[in-house]
């Protein structure tokens, strides 16, 4: 089954759109996508139906979310490294408060 592949709308004819997926063109139905779409928009395709218009701005948002995750995790990791050094210096790590 063709599941969840993003593609770019090339042209629209009523309820049918020609969509470009990495250079291959296929017809996709627009019955269930919940906002108006135009040529140039990216859509998520599921079994031949567009289920979502993907706003380009949100791609940036998701990446920013991952960056933040990494920053939080890294400061966590750094803190753990620092703790580790302190523990090593003190001998028994269980003594650390």
């Amino acid at each position: 089954m063709c599941l969840g592949v993003p593609g770019k709308i090339v042209e629209i004819d009523g309820l049918a759109a020609t969509v470009d997926f990495f250079g291959v063109r296929r017809t996709v139905r627009l019955d269930v996508v919940d906002e108006p779409v135009s040529p140039g928009d990216y859509i998520l395709n599921h079994v031949g139906f567009a289920i979502r218009r993907i706003p380009e701005a949100e791609i940036g948002e998701t990446l920013a979310l991952y960056e933040q995750l990494l920053r939080e995790a890294e400061s966590d990791i750094m803190a753990a490294d620092v703790r580790g050094e302190i523990e090593a210096g003190r001998g028994d790590p269980r003594d650390v408060r």
Partner: protein
């Protein structure tokens, strides 16, 4: 590389992936116990994990289990039998390719087709409607897939299909099975990774009651390597925190409300009923059936599907050794199965998990598996 690809490539950046893998190791190890078990319920997630070899990068302490997320695999034998019997009765049946070779009690649709029955493989339900339009005979669409796919079936029914078109619905609804897994006594699952595309339709809000009831966190994740890694980091983090909630880690496609228009279409055509899932026994509200007002397009109302010829058939010895049920429930993995890769392979599948492109066994067979554990 076309423009479309550049946008997605950002989610395949290996150096970011390495950093996220490191973060994942850190957050899992900070739990101080092993294993930390999480479950995903989507064939596409398993495909991505297997294809990119992510399990070999996960920390050993993390167990990412595939649950019943293959809609074809969990389609129960009697449902396949209904389609097979219809085809044998001379009715033309259209089906998604994945369903063609799933074994029924006696045979699969592929076997029936090989014996002369009219079975067409379609890539979209719209194509099945086209077949009906181009013909005067009945065309029955054997509708498999989860709610995201059911939306497509609903859409074509709402668009004045021809009178000779009807639907044999084997559609399934995922949220109820998460309840079942959460309630299973042997479950070790501490959190769920939810399928991003299903949530595109249903919205992430749908998981809030589940989280309330079971106190298990749910993270909605996309399908690129970065999406999956980030989703897992978030999930384990929330597990560690101890305050279960729903987190949307796929904001580019998923909102809290989801796609309202699609939901309206779905529930105007289908209603959830209890049913059996292959290997999981009864799932309340797990099956989608056509509502009464759509009975004129319901194959079960239009045809008398006589299953009596099948009931006496005893299953072959090999089938009894198949552990698909356990695999789908997340209790066993394909490498635990004696038949995996030997008597059971994509050419000669014994169980449904080896037939469907979303089945765990098929996926592991195609993508080889963990180099140190196979």
């Amino acid at each position: 590389m076309t423009e479309g690809a550049w946008a997605e490539l950002k989610f395949r950046d290996p150096s970011r992936a390495r950093e996220l893998t490191r973060a994942l190791s850190h957050v899992v190890r900070s739990m101080g116990r092993s294993p930390v078990s999480v479950m995903h319920v989507c064939g596409s997630h398993e495909q991505a994990i297997a294809k990119f070899g992510l399990r070999a990068a996960f920390p050993r302490e993390l167990d990412v289990i595939m649950g019943p997320g293959c809609s074809v695999c969990i389609t129960d034998v009697p449902e396949v039998d209904e389609a097979v019997v219809l085809a044998k009765q001379g009715v033309r049946v259209a089906t998604y390719g994945d369903m063609l070779r799933v074994p029924g009690t006696v045979e699969s649709l592929a076997d029936t087709k090989a014996r002369g029955a009219r079975v067409d493989v379609v890539y979209s339900v719209a194509h099945a409607v086209e077949l009906a339009r181009q013909s005067t005979e009945d065309v029955v669409f054997f509708a498999s897939g989860f709610e995201t796919t059911a939306v497509a079936t609903a859409a074509v029914l709402l668009r004045d299909p021809p009178a000779n078109f009807s639907v044999l619905s084997a559609h399934k609804y995922i949220p109820p099975v998460m309840e079942i897994v959460a309630e299973m006594p042997e479950t070790r699952v501490e959190g769920f990774l939810a399928a991003g595309h299903a949530a595109t339709i249903t919205g992430w809000g749908i998981f809030e009651p589940f989280v309330e009831r079971h106190r298990l966190p749910v993270v909605v994740a996309g399908f690129e390597p970065l999406d999956i890694l980030a989703g897992l980091v978030t999930l384990v983090d929330v597990i560690r925190e101890g305050t279960p909630r729903v987190v949307n880690a796929y904001p580019r496609c998923v909102t809290r409300e989801g796609n309202r228009a699609a939901q309206e279409k779905l529930w105007s055509v289908f209603r959830p009923v209890g049913g059996r899932w292959r290997g999981i026994a009864h799932v309340p509200n797990g099956n989608l059936r056509l509502k009464d007002e759509w009975s004129s397009f319901d194959a079960r109302a239009r045809f008398d599907i006589d299953l009596s010829s099948i009931w006496d058939y005893a299953p072959a010895t090999l089938t009894q050794e198949c552990i698909c049920g356990d695999i789908m429930a997340g209790i066993s993995s394909p490498s635990d199965c004696r038949l995996f890769g030997k008597e059971c392979n994509p050419e000669k599948p014994v169980g449904a998990c080896m037939v469907s492109s979303e089945g765990t066994c098929k996926i592991w067979h195609q993508y080889g598996g963990h180099p140190d554990r196979m």
